[in-house]
């Protein structure tokens, strides 16, 4: 930086005054709004973080210690853990300018495989879990192949896969619920993600820790590894990425397979949370995860946004839901406010984008 300024000093002597004034004027004009806009552009997860903190402060002020306690705040973490994990998978796909409508179905299918393989075929639970994780990854691989090789639009592929997997889930499970008690007695490891521990009044579960580690890990990988840069590049402009030497096919395959695997983990976490294996769970997880991602500031047009934002997005929904319930508001108010947030989030995203290029 200092090198360039020194070099520019050499030939700027004549036009120095006028140029700098224009530049300064421009800077002042951008000053207030422009600086904020630029800052948000560089830190896309900041907007949802601000909304999240504001929501916590407002509900904390209205409800006092009932809401603003380690117990209540960690309860929100527990309530959003499933959506949070699925939203991580969804974020990856949306960063590539895709969308995955089959996330919830993959999650339920994986949990059903884990349960049924254990109880119907008598496999050791650990083997059943591995099978469940494999099934999730395999479905993701099919999605990825259809998107990247056959060049079908992600929306269509995953719309179809959603129905296929959900139908397969009901056919295979015969809509049979495996009860919590049976799992606890014979295959406690299936409920691993529900195990909880106390830290000074705060209650964490393995599922919550998994969600946090997963999102921090992915956030690091997306920012600081070649793979992560490739994901952004493919989402921004696949042709340009291809020309600059990114293997677009391999990147897309990795994203969809990873998404499937994460959804399968979400299925495992789901068993921990609800205790039983129920084929009717998670049918709205696709919409809930997209909601978290969008409120979290990841652009649906791909290539922009931070996965941390998705976590904040999920938490915002969780804070609103619990806060409004504690205030005694009708549940419809939650949906109404979340709807406003979704539209506001996209509006803010569009506004921040204007600083780009």
């Amino acid at each position: 930086m200092s090198d360039t300024s020194r070099r520019s000093d050499d030939f700027e002597a004549a036009a120095k005054g006028s140029q700098e004034q224009i530049a300064e004027f421009d800077d002042h004009h951008r000053g207030f709004v422009g600086t904020v806009q630029h800052f948000l552009h560089v830190n896309p997860s900041l907007v949802p973080l601000i909304v999240l903190v504001a929501a916590i402060v407002i509900f904390g002020a209205l409800l006092g210690s009932k809401f603003f306690s380690p117990f209540a705040l960690t309860l929100i973490l527990q309530q959003v853990q499933i959506v949070g994990i699925v939203a991580a998978a969804q974020s990856l796909v949306i960063l590539t300018a895709g969308i995955d409508l089959s996330v919830g179905a993959i999650m339920v299918m994986s949990s059903v495989v884990m349960g049924q393989f254990t109880f119907r075929y008598g496999l050791p639970p650990t083997v059943a879990i591995v099978c469940g994780l494999f099934v999730g990854t395999a479905i993701g691989a099919v999605n990825g192949y259809l998107v990247s090789r056959i060049k079908l639009p992600p929306f269509i592929v995953t719309l179809g896969m959603w129905q296929i997997v959900l139908a397969a889930n009901f056919l295979y499970s015969q809509n049979e619920t495996i009860r919590s008690q049976e799992i606890e007695e014979n295959a406690a490891i299936l409920q691993l993600f529900g195990a909880k521990f106390n830290v000074g009044g705060a209650v964490f579960t393995v599922g919550v820790i998994f969600m946090l580690v997963l999102i921090l890990g992915l956030s690091y990988a997306l920012r600081h590894t070649a793979w992560g840069r490739h994901v952004y590049a493919v989402g921004d402009d696949p042709e340009a990425a291809e020309l600059s030497g990114v293997n677009v096919h391999r990147t897309l395959m990795s994203v969809y397979m990873l998404s499937g695997l994460i959804c399968a983990f979400a299925g495992w976490a789901l068993i921990g949370r609800i205790g039983s294996v129920s084929p009717t769970s998670g049918q709205l997880a696709n919409i809930e995860s997209i909601t978290a991602v969008v409120i979290g500031g990841i652009s649906l047009f791909g290539g922009r946004g931070s996965i941390l934002g998705s976590l904040f997005g999920a938490l915002i929904v969780g804070v609103f839901t619990l806060g409004l319930r504690l205030l005694g508001a009708d549940a419809q108010w939650t949906f109404l406010l979340i709807g406003i947030l979704i539209i506001a989030a996209v509006a803010v995203d569009q506004w921040i984008r204007k600083v780009a290029a």
């Binding site: 309860l75 619920t177 919590s180 209650v203 609800i274 205790g275 129920s278 769970s281 839901t321 319930r325």
Partner: protein
């Protein structure tokens, strides 16, 4: 569905909310068996998801076109379906609402259903009797179905509250009661996830809740997980409605204190019989005396009978359960 029966018999349609809910699966089983016995042809239709009204209207139109003698219907949308039902009745098709009454109830020729208010009343009375004096300072949470307050939800909730001795205010509305014992209500969508979340929300509001009414047994199972997470699974009384096999097993295990059992198989088989009678003799079914529908019965299932509340044992409940 034997080939010979299909060739000769009259057609009866069964239209359920979904193909996947065990309650409707059992209904279909009952209807299929009875149709076969009577030499009728059963055609089954279902919505794609609960609430899929469009597909049900299409199914009614298909049945009219098909010359069906009768339609057995569990409506997803109890008032919007009425014009389609009228069309069928105008075409001479007998329409029987199963499980879910239409709005108004006389839009169908007959309704074969569980008395959901009575189902709620039984578990309310049982909970009150079981708690004894402690019922006077109980902390009650009700885990309901959906924000739209569908009739079945309102009937069970209000029945429970009346049975427990809570003043109902408007019996058609959940949540307008001002009894200080009521902590609040939340919605569950009738599944485990929703049950757990709703219970957590209400416990955050008041951690001393000790009586929980749940709209169905999956919601109860979810509520139990939430209570277990804070170590209160043994000092909270959960009551429910449905009588599915996992639910009755949960009564045996002490997860649920008592549940009111309903009989989908019976609803369907009686429905098929009624259509047969309509086809042969032109006679429509009649309501249970004193009610505006045909009551297919309900029984309280528990191994801890309370005085003054009639109940059947878990073993009997297991023999009659579904799903």
């Amino acid at each position: 569905m034997a080939g010979s029966a299909m060739a000769e018999g009259e057609t009866v349609c069964l239209i359920t909310k979904t193909d996947t809910n065990p309650f409707f699966v059992k209904m279909k089983e009952g209807a299929t068996a009875k149709a076969e016995e009577l030499g009728m042809t059963l055609k089954a239709f279902a919505g794609k998801v609960d609430g899929d009204h469009e597909t049900q209207v299409q199914a009614i139109e298909t049945c009219i076109l098909d010359g069906a003698k009768g339609i057995l219907l569990t409506a997803s949308d109890t008032s919007s379906i009425v014009p389609a039902v009228k069309q069928a009745r105008d075409a001479g098709v007998l329409v029987i609402a199963l499980d879910t009454p239409l709005e108004p109830i006389d839009s169908a020729d007959a309704t074969f259903a569980t008395d959901n208010f009575l189902a709620g009343l039984l578990i309310g009375q049982w909970a009150k009797a079981t708690l004894g004096d402690a019922a006077n300072d109980a902390k009650i949470a009700t885990l309901d179905l959906a924000v739209s307050q569908p009739t079945v939800d309102v009937l069970r909730n209000q029945g429970f509250l009346q049975g427990f001795g809570v003043d109902l205010a408007d019996p058609n509305v959940i949540g307008d009661e001002d009894d200080p014992r009521l902590v609040g209500s939340d919605v569950t969508a009738g599944n485990e996830e929703g049950g757990r979340r709703a219970m957590e929300n209400l416990l955050a509001k008041d951690p001393t809740i000790n009586v929980v009414h749940t709209i169905n047994e999956p919601a109860a199972a979810g509520a139990y997980e939430a209570l277990k997470a804070i170590g209160r699974e043994n000092d909270v009384l959960i009551v429910s409605v449905d009588g599915g096999c996992p639910g009755v097993q949960n009564v045996a295990d002490g997860v649920i204190g008592a549940t009111s059992q309903q009989y989908p198989l019976l609803m369907a088989s009686l429905g098929v019989e009624a259509v047969k009678k309509w086809a042969d003799e032109g006679v429509k079914p009649e309501n249970t005396p004193g009610k505006d529908f045909f009551d297919t019965g309900v029984a309280l299932v528990t191994d801890k009978p309370a005085e003054g509340v009639e109940s059947i044992s878990v073993k009997e409940g297991m023999d009659l359960c579904w799903g």
